[in-house]
Homo-oligomer: 203 residues x 3
Protein backbone atom coordinates (compact mmCIF):
# COMPACT_ATOMS: atom_id res chain seq x y z
CA UNK A 1 0.00 0.00 0.00
CA UNK A 2 2.73 2.46 1.00
CA UNK A 3 4.67 1.26 -2.03
CA UNK A 4 1.78 2.22 -4.30
CA UNK A 5 1.61 5.67 -2.72
CA UNK A 6 5.31 6.10 -3.38
CA UNK A 7 4.80 4.97 -6.98
CA UNK A 8 1.97 7.47 -7.44
CA UNK A 9 3.98 10.31 -5.91
CA UNK A 10 6.96 9.57 -8.14
CA UNK A 11 4.82 9.34 -11.27
CA UNK A 12 3.10 12.66 -10.52
CA UNK A 13 6.33 14.38 -9.59
CA UNK A 14 8.26 12.90 -12.51
CA UNK A 15 5.66 13.90 -15.08
CA UNK A 16 5.46 17.45 -13.67
CA UNK A 17 9.25 17.81 -13.74
CA UNK A 18 9.31 16.65 -17.33
CA UNK A 19 6.48 19.03 -18.29
CA UNK A 20 8.40 21.98 -16.93
CA UNK A 21 11.63 21.08 -18.66
CA UNK A 22 10.57 20.37 -22.20
CA UNK A 23 7.67 20.22 -24.61
CA UNK A 24 5.85 16.90 -24.48
CA UNK A 25 2.65 15.39 -25.77
CA UNK A 26 0.36 13.13 -23.73
CA UNK A 27 2.39 10.03 -24.58
CA UNK A 28 5.58 11.71 -23.43
CA UNK A 29 4.14 12.94 -20.14
CA UNK A 30 2.64 9.58 -19.17
CA UNK A 31 5.72 7.67 -20.33
CA UNK A 32 8.04 9.88 -18.28
CA UNK A 33 5.77 9.58 -15.25
CA UNK A 34 5.87 5.79 -15.55
CA UNK A 35 9.64 5.75 -16.09
CA UNK A 36 10.19 7.92 -13.02
CA UNK A 37 7.95 5.71 -10.90
CA UNK A 38 9.02 2.29 -12.18
CA UNK A 39 12.57 2.85 -13.49
CA UNK A 40 14.34 2.56 -10.14
CA UNK A 41 12.69 -0.77 -9.37
CA UNK A 42 13.53 -2.05 -12.84
CA UNK A 43 17.24 -1.22 -12.49
CA UNK A 44 17.15 -2.77 -9.01
CA UNK A 45 15.78 -6.02 -10.40
CA UNK A 46 18.47 -6.12 -13.12
CA UNK A 47 21.17 -5.84 -10.45
CA UNK A 48 19.49 -8.42 -8.23
CA UNK A 49 18.81 -10.83 -11.11
CA UNK A 50 15.14 -10.64 -10.17
CA UNK A 51 13.77 -10.24 -13.70
CA UNK A 52 11.08 -9.80 -14.94
CA UNK A 53 10.83 -6.58 -12.89
CA UNK A 54 8.32 -6.88 -10.05
CA UNK A 55 6.69 -3.53 -10.87
CA UNK A 56 6.19 -4.64 -14.45
CA UNK A 57 4.44 -7.87 -13.48
CA UNK A 58 1.94 -6.24 -11.13
CA UNK A 59 -0.74 -4.32 -13.07
CA UNK A 60 -1.51 -2.16 -10.03
CA UNK A 61 1.90 -0.50 -10.25
CA UNK A 62 1.47 0.07 -13.97
CA UNK A 63 -2.02 1.53 -13.45
CA UNK A 64 -1.03 3.78 -10.55
CA UNK A 65 2.04 5.05 -12.40
CA UNK A 66 0.07 5.72 -15.59
CA UNK A 67 -2.64 7.41 -13.52
CA UNK A 68 -0.12 9.72 -11.86
CA UNK A 69 1.26 10.69 -15.26
CA UNK A 70 -2.24 11.30 -16.65
CA UNK A 71 -3.19 13.54 -13.72
CA UNK A 72 0.01 15.52 -14.23
CA UNK A 73 -0.83 15.89 -17.92
CA UNK A 74 -4.38 17.10 -17.26
CA UNK A 75 -3.71 19.40 -14.33
CA UNK A 76 -0.05 20.35 -14.69
CA UNK A 77 -0.80 24.05 -15.09
CA UNK A 78 -2.72 24.06 -11.79
CA UNK A 79 -0.35 21.91 -9.77
CA UNK A 80 2.38 24.54 -9.51
CA UNK A 81 0.55 25.85 -6.46
CA UNK A 82 0.94 22.69 -4.46
CA UNK A 83 4.68 22.44 -5.01
CA UNK A 84 5.22 21.85 -1.30
CA UNK A 85 2.92 18.84 -1.38
CA UNK A 86 4.80 17.43 -4.36
CA UNK A 87 8.11 17.79 -2.54
CA UNK A 88 6.72 15.94 0.45
CA UNK A 89 5.32 13.13 -1.69
CA UNK A 90 8.58 12.87 -3.61
CA UNK A 91 10.61 12.62 -0.38
CA UNK A 92 8.19 9.96 0.84
CA UNK A 93 8.65 7.99 -2.39
CA UNK A 94 12.43 8.30 -2.16
CA UNK A 95 12.45 7.05 1.45
CA UNK A 96 10.13 4.16 0.76
CA UNK A 97 11.95 3.01 -2.36
CA UNK A 98 15.40 3.24 -0.74
CA UNK A 99 14.27 1.12 2.21
CA UNK A 100 12.26 -1.46 0.27
CA UNK A 101 15.02 -1.73 -2.37
CA UNK A 102 17.66 -2.42 0.28
CA UNK A 103 15.41 -4.95 2.04
CA UNK A 104 14.76 -6.81 -1.21
CA UNK A 105 18.52 -7.15 -1.73
CA UNK A 106 18.97 -8.44 1.84
CA UNK A 107 16.12 -10.91 1.36
CA UNK A 108 17.75 -12.28 -1.77
CA UNK A 109 20.99 -12.92 0.13
CA UNK A 110 23.12 -9.99 -1.06
CA UNK A 111 25.76 -8.44 1.20
CA UNK A 112 25.35 -5.16 3.12
CA UNK A 113 27.34 -3.01 0.65
CA UNK A 114 25.30 -4.35 -2.24
CA UNK A 115 22.04 -3.80 -0.37
CA UNK A 116 22.86 -0.18 0.41
CA UNK A 117 23.85 0.55 -3.18
CA UNK A 118 20.75 -1.13 -4.57
CA UNK A 119 18.54 0.74 -2.10
CA UNK A 120 19.96 4.07 -3.24
CA UNK A 121 19.65 3.07 -6.93
CA UNK A 122 16.01 2.10 -6.39
CA UNK A 123 15.36 5.53 -4.89
CA UNK A 124 17.16 7.69 -7.43
CA UNK A 125 17.14 5.51 -10.58
CA UNK A 126 13.75 6.47 -11.99
CA UNK A 127 14.38 10.21 -11.75
CA UNK A 128 17.79 9.75 -13.31
CA UNK A 129 16.35 7.92 -16.32
CA UNK A 130 13.78 10.68 -16.73
CA UNK A 131 16.43 13.40 -16.60
CA UNK A 132 18.52 11.63 -19.25
CA UNK A 133 15.50 11.38 -21.56
CA UNK A 134 14.66 15.09 -21.22
CA UNK A 135 18.32 16.07 -21.59
CA UNK A 136 19.02 17.31 -18.09
CA UNK A 137 22.14 16.48 -16.12
CA UNK A 138 20.49 14.23 -13.50
CA UNK A 139 19.87 16.38 -10.46
CA UNK A 140 21.09 13.57 -8.23
CA UNK A 141 24.60 14.17 -9.58
CA UNK A 142 24.80 17.89 -9.18
CA UNK A 143 22.56 19.53 -6.63
CA UNK A 144 20.82 19.23 -3.32
CA UNK A 145 20.73 16.29 -0.96
CA UNK A 146 19.06 13.52 -2.90
CA UNK A 147 21.34 10.51 -3.03
CA UNK A 148 22.65 11.14 0.49
CA UNK A 149 19.34 10.59 2.32
CA UNK A 150 18.68 7.51 0.17
CA UNK A 151 22.10 6.10 1.10
CA UNK A 152 21.55 6.89 4.79
CA UNK A 153 18.08 5.36 4.86
CA UNK A 154 19.29 2.21 3.11
CA UNK A 155 22.27 1.99 5.48
CA UNK A 156 20.05 2.27 8.56
CA UNK A 157 17.74 -0.54 7.46
CA UNK A 158 20.67 -2.77 6.43
CA UNK A 159 22.43 -2.12 9.73
CA UNK A 160 19.27 -3.05 11.59
CA UNK A 161 19.18 -6.31 9.65
CA UNK A 162 22.85 -7.04 10.41
CA UNK A 163 22.15 -6.38 14.11
CA UNK A 164 19.14 -8.72 14.04
CA UNK A 165 16.81 -5.81 14.74
CA UNK A 166 14.87 -6.17 11.56
CA UNK A 167 11.20 -5.47 11.45
CA UNK A 168 8.57 -2.86 10.67
CA UNK A 169 9.98 -0.51 13.29
CA UNK A 170 13.44 -0.52 11.71
CA UNK A 171 12.01 -0.07 8.23
CA UNK A 172 9.77 2.83 9.22
CA UNK A 173 12.57 4.38 11.26
CA UNK A 174 14.99 4.16 8.33
CA UNK A 175 12.43 5.69 5.97
CA UNK A 176 11.76 8.47 8.51
CA UNK A 177 15.50 9.27 8.74
CA UNK A 178 15.74 9.43 4.95
CA UNK A 179 12.61 11.58 4.76
CA UNK A 180 13.84 13.95 7.46
CA UNK A 181 17.26 14.48 5.85
CA UNK A 182 15.67 15.06 2.46
CA UNK A 183 13.13 17.58 3.76
CA UNK A 184 15.76 19.41 5.83
CA UNK A 185 17.95 19.55 2.73
CA UNK A 186 15.09 21.02 0.67
CA UNK A 187 14.18 23.50 3.38
CA UNK A 188 17.65 24.81 4.12
CA UNK A 189 18.95 24.30 0.56
CA UNK A 190 21.80 22.09 1.74
CA UNK A 191 24.18 20.65 -0.85
CA UNK A 192 26.66 17.82 -0.76
CA UNK A 193 30.28 19.05 -0.82
CA UNK A 194 31.67 20.36 -4.08
CA UNK A 195 35.23 19.66 -5.23
CA UNK A 196 37.93 21.58 -3.35
CA UNK A 197 39.42 24.53 -5.19
CA UNK A 198 36.13 25.31 -6.92
CA UNK A 199 34.38 28.62 -6.44
CA UNK A 200 31.11 28.77 -4.55
CA UNK A 201 27.98 27.92 -6.41
CA UNK A 202 26.51 30.81 -8.24
CA UNK A 203 23.48 29.56 -10.08
Amino acid sequence: MLDLIGTFAFALNGALTALRATRLDIVGVITLGMITALGGGTIRDVFLDALPPATFLDWRYLAVAAGGGLIAFLTGHHLERINGTINVLDAAGLSLFAVTGALKAVDLGFGPAQAVIVGAITGVGGGTLRDVLIRQVPSVLSSGLYAVPALVGATVVVLADVLDARGPVAAIGAAAVCFAIRMLGVHFDVNAPFPPGERRRER
Copy 2:
Protein backbone atom coordinates in the same frame (compact mmCIF):
# COMPACT_ATOMS: atom_id res chain seq x y z
CA MET B 1 12.28 -12.96 -42.86
CA LEU B 2 9.94 -10.01 -42.30
CA ASP B 3 11.70 -9.48 -39.00
CA LEU B 4 15.02 -9.14 -40.81
CA ILE B 5 13.54 -6.59 -43.21
CA GLY B 6 12.31 -4.60 -40.22
CA THR B 7 15.77 -4.82 -38.66
CA PHE B 8 17.40 -3.60 -41.86
CA ALA B 9 14.93 -0.73 -42.24
CA PHE B 10 15.48 0.37 -38.66
CA ALA B 11 19.28 0.20 -38.97
CA LEU B 12 19.26 2.25 -42.18
CA ASN B 13 16.81 4.78 -40.82
CA GLY B 14 18.52 5.00 -37.44
CA ALA B 15 21.95 5.57 -38.92
CA LEU B 16 20.62 8.23 -41.30
CA THR B 17 18.85 10.04 -38.48
CA ALA B 18 22.04 10.01 -36.43
CA LEU B 19 24.10 11.26 -39.38
CA ARG B 20 21.81 14.25 -39.80
CA ALA B 21 21.83 15.17 -36.13
CA THR B 22 25.49 15.10 -35.22
CA ARG B 23 29.00 14.49 -36.46
CA LEU B 24 29.93 10.81 -36.38
CA ASP B 25 32.69 8.57 -37.67
CA ILE B 26 32.11 5.15 -39.22
CA VAL B 27 32.06 3.44 -35.84
CA GLY B 28 29.45 5.86 -34.57
CA VAL B 29 27.17 5.49 -37.62
CA ILE B 30 27.23 1.68 -37.61
CA THR B 31 26.88 1.52 -33.83
CA LEU B 32 23.85 3.81 -33.86
CA GLY B 33 22.30 1.84 -36.72
CA MET B 34 22.72 -1.38 -34.74
CA ILE B 35 21.39 0.20 -31.55
CA THR B 36 18.30 1.51 -33.38
CA ALA B 37 17.66 -1.89 -34.94
CA LEU B 38 18.46 -4.14 -31.99
CA GLY B 39 17.88 -1.91 -28.94
CA GLY B 40 14.12 -2.37 -28.75
CA GLY B 41 14.40 -6.16 -28.78
CA THR B 42 17.11 -6.03 -26.13
CA ILE B 43 14.98 -3.96 -23.75
CA ARG B 44 12.05 -6.28 -24.48
CA ASP B 45 14.12 -9.31 -23.47
CA VAL B 46 15.21 -7.62 -20.23
CA PHE B 47 11.56 -7.05 -19.31
CA LEU B 48 10.57 -10.56 -20.31
CA ASP B 49 13.55 -12.18 -18.54
CA ALA B 50 14.48 -13.71 -21.91
CA LEU B 51 18.22 -12.94 -21.76
CA PRO B 52 20.55 -13.26 -23.58
CA PRO B 53 18.70 -11.07 -26.11
CA ALA B 54 17.43 -13.07 -29.09
CA THR B 55 18.74 -10.54 -31.63
CA PHE B 56 22.19 -10.74 -30.04
CA LEU B 57 22.35 -14.54 -30.28
CA ASP B 58 21.41 -14.69 -33.98
CA TRP B 59 24.29 -13.51 -36.18
CA ARG B 60 21.88 -12.72 -39.03
CA TYR B 61 20.35 -9.88 -37.05
CA LEU B 62 23.77 -8.55 -36.16
CA ALA B 63 24.92 -8.75 -39.80
CA VAL B 64 21.77 -7.16 -41.25
CA ALA B 65 21.84 -4.36 -38.68
CA ALA B 66 25.55 -3.66 -39.25
CA GLY B 67 24.96 -3.77 -43.02
CA GLY B 68 22.16 -1.22 -42.78
CA GLY B 69 24.42 1.08 -40.78
CA LEU B 70 27.27 0.64 -43.27
CA ILE B 71 25.05 1.45 -46.25
CA ALA B 72 23.84 4.58 -44.46
CA PHE B 73 27.46 5.57 -43.81
CA LEU B 74 28.52 5.08 -47.44
CA THR B 75 25.51 6.57 -49.17
CA GLY B 76 24.03 8.94 -46.59
CA HIS B 77 24.52 12.01 -48.74
CA HIS B 78 22.56 10.40 -51.59
CA LEU B 79 19.76 8.91 -49.54
CA GLU B 80 18.06 12.19 -48.74
CA ARG B 81 16.21 11.82 -52.03
CA ILE B 82 14.45 8.62 -51.03
CA ASN B 83 13.15 10.01 -47.76
CA GLY B 84 9.69 8.68 -48.54
CA THR B 85 11.01 5.16 -48.88
CA ILE B 86 12.79 5.46 -45.56
CA ASN B 87 9.60 6.58 -43.86
CA VAL B 88 7.74 3.60 -45.26
CA LEU B 89 10.44 1.15 -44.20
CA ASP B 90 10.56 2.72 -40.75
CA ALA B 91 6.79 2.41 -40.33
CA ALA B 92 7.04 -1.20 -41.47
CA GLY B 93 9.74 -1.88 -38.89
CA LEU B 94 7.70 -0.21 -36.16
CA SER B 95 4.60 -2.28 -37.00
CA LEU B 96 6.49 -5.54 -37.18
CA PHE B 97 8.41 -5.01 -33.96
CA ALA B 98 5.33 -3.90 -32.01
CA VAL B 99 3.40 -7.00 -33.09
CA THR B 100 6.20 -9.54 -32.67
CA GLY B 101 7.21 -7.98 -29.33
CA ALA B 102 3.67 -8.29 -27.99
CA LEU B 103 3.34 -11.86 -29.27
CA LYS B 104 6.61 -12.87 -27.60
CA ALA B 105 5.28 -11.56 -24.28
CA VAL B 106 2.01 -13.49 -24.75
CA ASP B 107 3.94 -16.65 -25.65
CA LEU B 108 5.97 -16.37 -22.47
CA GLY B 109 2.79 -16.19 -20.39
CA PHE B 110 2.64 -12.48 -19.60
CA GLY B 111 -0.69 -10.70 -19.15
CA PRO B 112 -2.36 -8.48 -21.78
CA ALA B 113 -1.29 -5.15 -20.23
CA GLN B 114 2.32 -6.34 -20.06
CA ALA B 115 2.22 -7.63 -23.62
CA VAL B 116 0.92 -4.32 -25.00
CA ILE B 117 3.55 -2.33 -23.11
CA VAL B 118 6.35 -4.64 -24.20
CA GLY B 119 5.16 -4.51 -27.80
CA ALA B 120 5.28 -0.72 -27.79
CA ILE B 121 8.71 -0.74 -26.10
CA THR B 122 10.04 -3.14 -28.73
CA GLY B 123 8.85 -0.78 -31.45
CA VAL B 124 10.09 2.51 -30.02
CA GLY B 125 12.99 1.42 -27.75
CA GLY B 126 15.78 1.35 -30.30
CA GLY B 127 15.05 4.81 -31.66
CA THR B 128 14.82 6.15 -28.12
CA LEU B 129 18.25 4.79 -27.19
CA ARG B 130 19.68 6.34 -30.37
CA ASP B 131 18.14 9.72 -29.59
CA VAL B 132 19.56 9.68 -26.06
CA LEU B 133 23.05 8.91 -27.41
CA ILE B 134 22.94 11.77 -29.93
CA ARG B 135 21.46 14.15 -27.37
CA GLN B 136 17.97 14.57 -28.78
CA VAL B 137 14.83 14.52 -26.71
CA PRO B 138 13.44 11.20 -28.02
CA SER B 139 10.96 12.04 -30.74
CA VAL B 140 8.57 9.43 -29.37
CA LEU B 141 8.05 11.69 -26.34
CA SER B 142 7.39 14.93 -28.09
CA SER B 143 6.14 14.81 -31.65
CA GLY B 144 4.10 12.98 -34.21
CA LEU B 145 2.24 9.73 -33.85
CA TYR B 146 4.89 7.16 -33.09
CA ALA B 147 4.08 5.43 -29.81
CA VAL B 148 0.34 5.55 -30.49
CA PRO B 149 0.36 3.28 -33.58
CA ALA B 150 2.73 0.90 -31.78
CA LEU B 151 0.34 0.73 -28.80
CA VAL B 152 -2.67 0.23 -31.08
CA GLY B 153 -0.97 -2.49 -33.13
CA ALA B 154 0.15 -4.33 -29.98
CA THR B 155 -3.35 -4.00 -28.51
CA VAL B 156 -4.99 -5.44 -31.61
CA VAL B 157 -2.77 -8.52 -31.68
CA VAL B 158 -3.14 -9.06 -27.92
CA LEU B 159 -6.92 -8.71 -28.15
CA ALA B 160 -6.97 -11.26 -30.96
CA ASP B 161 -5.06 -13.64 -28.71
CA VAL B 162 -7.44 -13.06 -25.80
CA LEU B 163 -10.38 -13.74 -28.14
CA ASP B 164 -8.74 -16.97 -29.37
CA ALA B 165 -8.40 -15.49 -32.86
CA ARG B 166 -4.67 -15.71 -32.91
CA GLY B 167 -2.84 -16.47 -36.12
CA PRO B 168 -1.05 -14.99 -39.09
CA VAL B 169 -4.15 -13.08 -40.14
CA ALA B 170 -4.43 -11.33 -36.77
CA ALA B 171 -0.71 -10.54 -36.72
CA ILE B 172 -0.69 -9.12 -40.24
CA GLY B 173 -3.89 -7.22 -39.57
CA ALA B 174 -2.47 -5.69 -36.40
CA ALA B 175 0.73 -4.70 -38.18
CA ALA B 176 -1.33 -3.19 -41.01
CA VAL B 177 -3.36 -1.11 -38.54
CA CYS B 178 -0.16 0.17 -36.90
CA PHE B 179 1.38 0.88 -40.31
CA ALA B 180 -1.71 2.74 -41.55
CA ILE B 181 -1.97 4.94 -38.45
CA ARG B 182 1.73 5.77 -38.62
CA MET B 183 1.66 6.64 -42.32
CA LEU B 184 -1.49 8.73 -41.94
CA GLY B 185 0.17 10.53 -39.03
CA VAL B 186 3.25 11.26 -41.16
CA HIS B 187 1.17 12.35 -44.14
CA PHE B 188 -1.21 14.67 -42.31
CA ASP B 189 1.30 15.69 -39.62
CA VAL B 190 -0.98 14.53 -36.80
CA ASN B 191 0.24 14.88 -33.22
CA ALA B 192 -0.88 13.32 -29.98
CA PRO B 193 -2.62 15.83 -27.70
CA PHE B 194 -0.51 18.39 -25.90
CA PRO B 195 -1.17 19.46 -22.31
CA PRO B 196 -4.22 21.70 -21.82
CA GLY B 197 -3.47 25.36 -21.26
CA GLU B 198 -0.44 25.26 -23.52
CA ARG B 199 -0.21 27.42 -26.63
CA ARG B 200 -0.32 25.82 -30.04
CA ARG B 201 2.84 24.33 -31.35
CA GLU B 202 5.00 26.81 -33.12
CA ARG B 203 8.16 25.02 -34.21
Copy 3:
Protein backbone atom coordinates in the same frame (compact mmCIF):
# COMPACT_ATOMS: atom_id res chain seq x y z
CA MET C 1 44.62 -8.03 -9.92
CA LEU C 2 45.08 -6.50 -13.39
CA ASP C 3 41.30 -6.23 -13.55
CA LEU C 4 41.28 -4.16 -10.37
CA ILE C 5 43.94 -1.84 -11.79
CA GLY C 6 41.79 -1.37 -14.88
CA THR C 7 38.78 -0.65 -12.69
CA PHE C 8 40.73 1.93 -10.70
CA ALA C 9 42.09 3.60 -13.84
CA PHE C 10 38.62 3.81 -15.36
CA ALA C 11 37.09 5.21 -12.17
CA LEU C 12 39.80 7.88 -11.87
CA ASN C 13 39.64 8.79 -15.53
CA GLY C 14 35.84 8.73 -15.64
CA ALA C 15 35.46 10.97 -12.62
CA LEU C 16 38.04 13.44 -13.96
CA THR C 17 36.31 13.58 -17.34
CA ALA C 18 33.00 14.25 -15.64
CA LEU C 19 34.54 16.94 -13.43
CA ARG C 20 35.82 18.81 -16.46
CA ALA C 21 32.56 18.63 -18.34
CA THR C 22 30.02 19.76 -15.79
CA ARG C 23 29.46 20.92 -12.24
CA LEU C 24 29.13 18.01 -9.82
CA ASP C 25 29.07 17.47 -6.09
CA ILE C 26 30.90 14.63 -4.30
CA VAL C 27 28.04 12.21 -4.90
CA GLY C 28 28.06 12.96 -8.60
CA VAL C 29 31.83 12.58 -9.00
CA ILE C 30 32.02 9.25 -7.17
CA THR C 31 28.88 7.94 -8.89
CA LEU C 32 30.23 8.80 -12.34
CA GLY C 33 33.59 7.22 -11.47
CA MET C 34 31.83 4.03 -10.43
CA ILE C 35 29.58 4.04 -13.50
CA THR C 36 32.59 4.46 -15.80
CA ALA C 37 34.46 1.65 -14.09
CA LEU C 38 31.61 -0.81 -13.59
CA GLY C 39 29.10 0.10 -16.31
CA GLY C 40 30.77 -1.82 -19.13
CA GLY C 41 30.87 -5.03 -17.10
CA THR C 42 27.25 -4.58 -16.10
CA ILE C 43 26.06 -4.22 -19.71
CA ARG C 44 28.24 -7.22 -20.62
CA ASP C 45 26.54 -9.35 -17.98
CA VAL C 46 23.08 -8.31 -19.22
CA PHE C 47 24.00 -9.46 -22.72
CA LEU C 48 25.55 -12.69 -21.46
CA ASP C 49 22.65 -13.41 -19.07
CA ALA C 50 25.23 -13.49 -16.27
CA LEU C 51 23.30 -11.42 -13.76
CA PRO C 52 23.76 -10.29 -11.04
CA PRO C 53 26.76 -8.40 -12.50
CA ALA C 54 30.09 -9.84 -11.35
CA THR C 55 31.53 -6.41 -10.49
CA PHE C 56 28.51 -5.69 -8.33
CA LEU C 57 28.85 -8.90 -6.32
CA ASP C 58 32.54 -8.42 -5.49
CA TRP C 59 33.00 -5.66 -2.89
CA ARG C 60 36.63 -5.13 -4.02
CA TYR C 61 35.47 -3.77 -7.37
CA LEU C 62 32.97 -1.50 -5.65
CA ALA C 63 35.62 -0.25 -3.19
CA VAL C 64 38.30 0.31 -5.83
CA ALA C 65 35.85 2.12 -8.13
CA ALA C 66 34.55 4.33 -5.31
CA GLY C 67 38.15 5.01 -4.21
CA GLY C 68 39.13 6.11 -7.71
CA GLY C 69 36.17 8.48 -7.81
CA LEU C 70 37.00 9.88 -4.37
CA ILE C 71 40.64 10.52 -5.30
CA ALA C 72 39.48 12.33 -8.44
CA PHE C 73 37.12 14.44 -6.33
CA LEU C 74 39.81 15.40 -3.81
CA THR C 75 42.69 16.01 -6.18
CA GLY C 76 41.02 16.80 -9.50
CA HIS C 77 42.50 20.31 -9.68
CA HIS C 78 46.03 18.87 -9.33
CA LEU C 79 45.66 15.91 -11.64
CA GLU C 80 45.58 17.94 -14.83
CA ARG C 81 49.37 17.75 -14.82
CA ILE C 82 49.52 14.00 -15.10
CA ASN C 83 47.20 13.81 -18.07
CA GLY C 84 49.62 11.51 -19.86
CA THR C 85 49.46 9.02 -17.01
CA ILE C 86 45.69 9.09 -17.10
CA ASN C 87 45.67 8.37 -20.82
CA VAL C 88 47.96 5.39 -20.30
CA LEU C 89 45.86 4.01 -17.46
CA ASP C 90 42.69 4.50 -19.49
CA ALA C 91 44.16 2.67 -22.48
CA ALA C 92 45.23 -0.12 -20.13
CA GLY C 93 41.71 -0.36 -18.72
CA LEU C 94 40.21 -0.42 -22.21
CA SER C 95 42.55 -3.22 -23.33
CA LEU C 96 41.98 -5.31 -20.25
CA PHE C 97 38.20 -4.95 -20.28
CA ALA C 98 37.92 -5.70 -24.01
CA VAL C 99 39.96 -8.91 -23.63
CA THR C 100 38.39 -10.16 -20.41
CA GLY C 101 34.90 -9.29 -21.68
CA ALA C 102 35.44 -11.29 -24.87
CA LEU C 103 36.90 -14.22 -22.93
CA LYS C 104 33.94 -14.29 -20.55
CA ALA C 105 31.59 -14.56 -23.55
CA VAL C 106 33.69 -17.40 -25.02
CA ASP C 107 33.71 -19.19 -21.66
CA LEU C 108 29.94 -19.01 -21.47
CA GLY C 109 29.64 -20.63 -24.90
CA PHE C 110 28.80 -17.65 -27.08
CA GLY C 111 29.92 -17.48 -30.71
CA PRO C 112 32.91 -15.47 -32.02
CA ALA C 113 30.85 -12.54 -33.35
CA GLN C 114 29.03 -12.24 -30.04
CA ALA C 115 32.29 -12.45 -28.08
CA VAL C 116 33.92 -9.67 -30.10
CA ILE C 117 30.89 -7.40 -29.72
CA VAL C 118 30.64 -8.06 -25.99
CA GLY C 119 34.36 -7.42 -25.54
CA ALA C 120 34.08 -4.04 -27.23
CA ILE C 121 30.95 -3.19 -25.21
CA THR C 122 32.74 -4.09 -21.98
CA GLY C 123 35.56 -1.73 -22.92
CA VAL C 124 33.53 1.27 -24.06
CA GLY C 125 30.22 0.82 -22.20
CA GLY C 126 31.13 2.52 -18.94
CA GLY C 127 32.46 5.66 -20.59
CA THR C 128 29.41 5.81 -22.83
CA LEU C 129 27.02 5.68 -19.86
CA ARG C 130 29.03 8.46 -18.19
CA ASP C 131 28.90 10.64 -21.30
CA VAL C 132 25.14 10.20 -21.59
CA LEU C 133 24.68 11.24 -17.95
CA ILE C 134 26.79 14.40 -18.35
CA ARG C 135 25.11 15.24 -21.68
CA GLN C 136 28.00 14.64 -24.04
CA VAL C 137 27.72 12.81 -27.32
CA PRO C 138 29.69 9.69 -26.33
CA SER C 139 33.24 10.20 -27.59
CA VAL C 140 33.31 6.60 -28.78
CA LEU C 141 30.79 7.57 -31.46
CA SER C 142 32.47 10.65 -32.80
CA SER C 143 36.19 11.03 -32.30
CA GLY C 144 39.52 9.28 -32.00
CA LEU C 145 40.26 5.60 -32.11
CA TYR C 146 38.46 4.17 -29.12
CA ALA C 147 36.09 1.46 -30.26
CA VAL C 148 38.46 0.28 -32.98
CA PRO C 149 41.29 -0.89 -30.66
CA ALA C 150 38.71 -2.55 -28.40
CA LEU C 151 37.25 -4.42 -31.39
CA VAL C 152 40.72 -5.43 -32.60
CA GLY C 153 41.84 -6.62 -29.17
CA ALA C 154 38.67 -8.63 -28.69
CA THR C 155 39.01 -10.11 -32.18
CA VAL C 156 42.61 -11.20 -31.54
CA VAL C 157 41.77 -13.02 -28.33
CA VAL C 158 38.68 -14.65 -29.88
CA LEU C 159 40.68 -15.76 -32.93
CA ALA C 160 43.30 -17.27 -30.64
CA ASP C 161 40.54 -19.21 -28.92
CA VAL C 162 39.09 -20.41 -32.24
CA LEU C 163 42.58 -21.54 -33.30
CA ASP C 164 43.05 -23.41 -29.99
CA ALA C 165 45.88 -21.05 -29.04
CA ARG C 166 44.14 -19.76 -25.97
CA GLY C 167 46.11 -18.89 -22.88
CA PRO C 168 47.76 -16.07 -20.96
CA VAL C 169 50.08 -15.31 -23.89
CA ALA C 170 47.18 -14.77 -26.27
CA ALA C 171 45.29 -12.66 -23.75
CA ILE C 172 48.28 -10.45 -22.97
CA GLY C 173 49.15 -10.19 -26.66
CA ALA C 174 45.59 -9.14 -27.54
CA ALA C 175 45.58 -6.55 -24.76
CA ALA C 176 48.96 -5.26 -25.96
CA VAL C 177 47.66 -4.87 -29.52
CA CYS C 178 44.62 -2.96 -28.26
CA PHE C 179 46.82 -0.81 -26.02
CA ALA C 180 49.29 -0.04 -28.82
CA ILE C 181 46.59 0.98 -31.31
CA ARG C 182 44.90 3.18 -28.73
CA MET C 183 48.13 4.92 -27.70
CA LEU C 184 49.21 5.43 -31.32
CA GLY C 185 45.77 6.88 -32.03
CA VAL C 186 46.10 9.29 -29.10
CA HIS C 187 49.65 10.25 -30.05
CA PHE C 188 49.07 10.88 -33.75
CA ASP C 189 45.44 12.04 -33.31
CA VAL C 190 44.12 9.39 -35.69
CA ASN C 191 40.39 9.20 -36.34
CA ALA C 192 38.19 6.53 -37.79
CA PRO C 193 36.87 7.44 -41.25
CA PHE C 194 34.15 10.04 -41.53
CA PRO C 195 31.27 9.77 -43.99
CA PRO C 196 32.19 10.41 -47.61
CA GLY C 197 31.15 13.79 -48.97
CA GLU C 198 31.68 15.49 -45.63
CA ARG C 199 34.16 18.31 -45.17
CA ARG C 200 37.30 17.72 -43.14
CA ARG C 201 37.02 18.01 -39.44
CA GLU C 202 37.36 21.52 -38.16
CA ARG C 203 36.82 21.46 -34.41
